[in-house]
C-alpha cells in the first residue's frame, strides 16, 4: 500500500543503501581492480598467474630438496587444516549443543552464557595462551613430566594449529546448532519415540535432519575464519605452516598490494564456490521437508 507513511519509511533505507554501496560493494570491486593491475594500474594478469605458477624449493625432513608450487601448496594446506578443524568442531560441538538444548530453560541460558565467555576474550590472547600451554617447556609438558609421562612435541606442528583453530572457533559451531535445536518441538522427539525410534535412531532420523540448517551455518562460521586466519598459524605453527591468510598479510606488510589483492581474489572466488556447493548439498538433503 503506497501511502505517505510507507513512502517516508522507505526513505530511511537511503543512508544505509548508499553506505552499503560505497563501503561493501565498491571495495570488493577494488580487490578485483588491484588483482588485475600492476603498480602503475595498467591491466595485467601477472598477479593471478603468479599465484598459480610461482614455485619454491622445500627441504624435507630427510634433507631432500623438492620444487613446489608455493601458493597452491599454501592454499591446499589452508583448506586441509580448515576442513579438519571444522570437522572436529562439529564432532565436539554437536553433542554440546544437543545436551544444552535438552536442559531446562534457566540452565540453557546460563550454559550458553558460559560457552560465550571465551568468545568475548580477544582471539589473539586466546591463541597466545595456547602457545604457552603447548610449548615444549609449557604447562602441558610440565604436567606430563610430573606424572611420569614423556613430554609431547606439539608446538610448531599442524596439530597445534588445528588445536588453536578448534579452540578459537568451537563456540561458533555450538551456538547456531543450539539455536536451531532449542526451537525443535519436544513433541517431535516424543512422536519419534512413540513411533518406535530408540534414542540413537531418534537422533539420526529426526533431530539430525532438522538441525541441518544450524549445522550448515555452524560449518560456514567455522570454515571461513579458519581458512582465512593469519595469526594462529604464525604463533602455534611457529611460522612453519604458512596459510593463505599469512600470505596475504605478508604481501600487505611488504606493500605488494596488487599481489595481496590477487591472493584475496582467488580465495574469495574459491570460498564463494565452496559455499554455493555446500548450500546446494544441504538443500538437496533438506528438500524432503519443503
Amino acid at each position: 500500500m503506497r501511502t505517505k507513511a510507507t513512502r517516508l519509511q522507505k526513505l530511511l533505507l537511503y543512508p544505509y543503501g548508499l553506505w552499503a554501496i560505497l563501503f561493501i560493494v565498491v571495495p570488493l570491486a577494488f580487490i578485483a581492480y588491484y588483482a588485475f593491475t600492476d603498480n602503475s594500474f595498467a591491466f595485467t594478469t601477472e598477479n593471478i598467474t603468479r599465484f598459480f605458477t610461482a614455485t619454491s624449493s622445500v627441504t624435507a625432513e630427510d634433507g631432500s630438496v623438492s620444487e613446489v608450487h608455493t601458493y597452491l601448496l599454501i592454499f591446499a594446506r589452508s583448506l586441509k587444516l580448515a576442513v579438519v578443524s571444522t570437522v572436529i568442531c562439529l564432532l565436539l560441538g554437536y553433542p554440546v549443543a544437543y545436551i544444552i538444548s535438552r536442559c531446562n530453560a534457566r540452565l540453557q541460558s546460563s550454559l550458553i552464557t558460559i560457552i560465550m565467555i571465551p568468545m568475548w576474550m580477544n582471539f589473539l590472547i586466546r591463541t597466545y595462551a595456547w602457545m604457552t600451554i603447548l610449548q615444549d617447556t609449557g604447562i602441558l609438558n610440565s604436567a606430563l613430566t610430573a606424572l611420569g609421562l614423556s613430554p609431547l612435541h606439539i608446538i610448531g606442528t599442524e596439530s597445534a594449529v588445528v588445536i588453536g583453530m578448534v579452540y578459537d572457533y568451537l563456540p561458533y559451531m555450538i551456538l547456531p546448532i543450539y539455536s536451531v535445536m532449542a526451537k525443535l518441538d519436544v513433541k517431535l522427539i516424543e512422536a519419534a519415540r512413540d513411533l518406535g525410534c530408540n534414542g540413537f535412531s531418534t537422533l539420526r532420523r529426526v533431530i539430525w535432519p532438522l538441525s541441518l540448517p544450524g549445522v550448515l551455518s555452524g560449518v560456514t562460521m567455522v570454515l571461513i575464519p579458519s581458512v582465512s586466519t593469519f595469526y594462529i598459524s604464525q604463533k602455534l605453527g611457529s611460522g612453519k605452516f604458512f596459510l593463505i591468510g599469512d600470505a596475504i598479510e605478508g604481501q600487505y606488510v611488504a606493500n605488494n598490494l596488487h599481489f595481496a589483492a590477487a591472493i584475496a581474489f582467488v580465495m574469495m572466488i574459491a570460498l564463494l564456490t565452496a559455499m554455493a556447493l555446500l548450500r546446494a548439498l544441504a538443500d538437496r538433503k533438506v528438500s524432503g521437508r519443503s
Binding site: 500500500m1 503506497r2 501511502t3 505517505k4 507513511a5
Partner: protein, 375 residues
Amino acid sequence: MNKIIELKNITKSFDGEVVLNGINLDVYDNEFLTLLGPSGCGKTTMLRIIGGFAEADEGDVMFLGERINDVPPHKRNINTVFQRYALFPHLNVFDNVAFPLKEKKVPKAEIEQRVHEMLDLVALTGFDKRSVTTLSGGQQQRVAIARAIISKPRLLLLDEPLGALDLKLRKDMQVELKKLQKATGITFIFVTHDQEEALSMSDIIVIMSEGCIQQIGTPIDIYNEPTNAFVADFIGESNILDGVMLRDKLVSFSGQQFVCVDKGFEPNESVDVVVRPEDVDIVPYEKGMLRGVVTSVTFLGVHYEIIVDINGFKWMIQTTDFVDVDEQVGLSIDPDAIHIMKKSKYSGMFGDYSSFSNELDELSDAESESVEHED
C-alpha cells in the same frame, strides 16, 4: 438523515489484480452497517480505504460531505477496531485507552475521568493497571473498543473484531456491540464473513463478492429478496433452480408451473428461482406439487434437514416431520415462498445440494477464515 461516508466509484487493485471495482456506497448517521462477503471480496480493503490506510486508485471518499482521499488517518475523525485488536503491548489498560486523548493533549484530570467512564462502559472497571497481555480475548476486545471510541469519533470501523473469540463469547459480544452502538450513537461499519453475525446485528447489510457490491439492504430484505444467486446462497440456505417466468405471477421450474407473487419480468424470461428450505412442506407423495425420493436425513435438534432428489436436482428441506431415507415424498410450496431473481453471472453456480455434507461445509469455513487474515 446525514450521510457520514460516501464512496464514489472507488476502484483499487494490487499488483494488477482488481480488488475493488467501482464501489458506490452511502453510509448514514447512526447506522450499524455490515460489509459481508467471503474472503478476498474486498471488504477489508474497503475498510482500509475509509480508515486512510490504503489509497483508492480511482474514486472519491467523502466524509461528512468533504473529500478526504488525501487526509492521513490521524486527521480523520474515524477510528478502527483492528482484527487482532492491535493493543500496545508496552502500555497497560489505562494507557492504551488514554492514548488518543494524550495525543490530543487533553488535560490530565479530564483524561482520568473519561478513561474511567469508558472502562465502566465496557465493564472493565478496576482493570486500569493491568497489562494488556494478561487479559483474555474478550477483555482485550473491550479495551480495543474503549480505546477506539473514547475520542468520540463520528465513525467506528470494525474489522472482523469477533473473529478470534469462541462461539459463546462471540454471541455475548454481538449483543454488547449492538447496545454500545445504540448508547453512543456512533456509526459502525462492521466487516465480517459470518452471515449470522451480520443478520443479527446490522441495520444495513452490504453484500460483496469479487470487488463488487451485490446487494444493499436490511437483513430482512436481503434474506427474503436476494437479488441474485450469490446473495441467496451466501445468506442462509437456498434451493436455486432454473426457471422460466411465463407471465406475471406464474413461473415454471422442475417441469411444473407454480403460482408466485413476483411480477415485472418479460414473458418467458429465464430466471433463477429461490426456495428456502424452511418454506417447503413435506406432503404425501400423491398430493405433492413435486415428487421425489429422500436421499439423506440429518437430525439437527430443532428440525430435520433432509435432501430430496427430484428429477436429479437435490433439494434441501428443513422439516419437523420425520421421514425415512428412500421414502417417496411430495413437496408443497406456497406462492409467497417462491422468490424470482434475474439471471446473473452467478446463475447455476449455487443452490444444488447434490454434493452437500455438513463436514465439507465446516472444512471450507475454516479454510476461508485462515485465508481472511492475509488480506
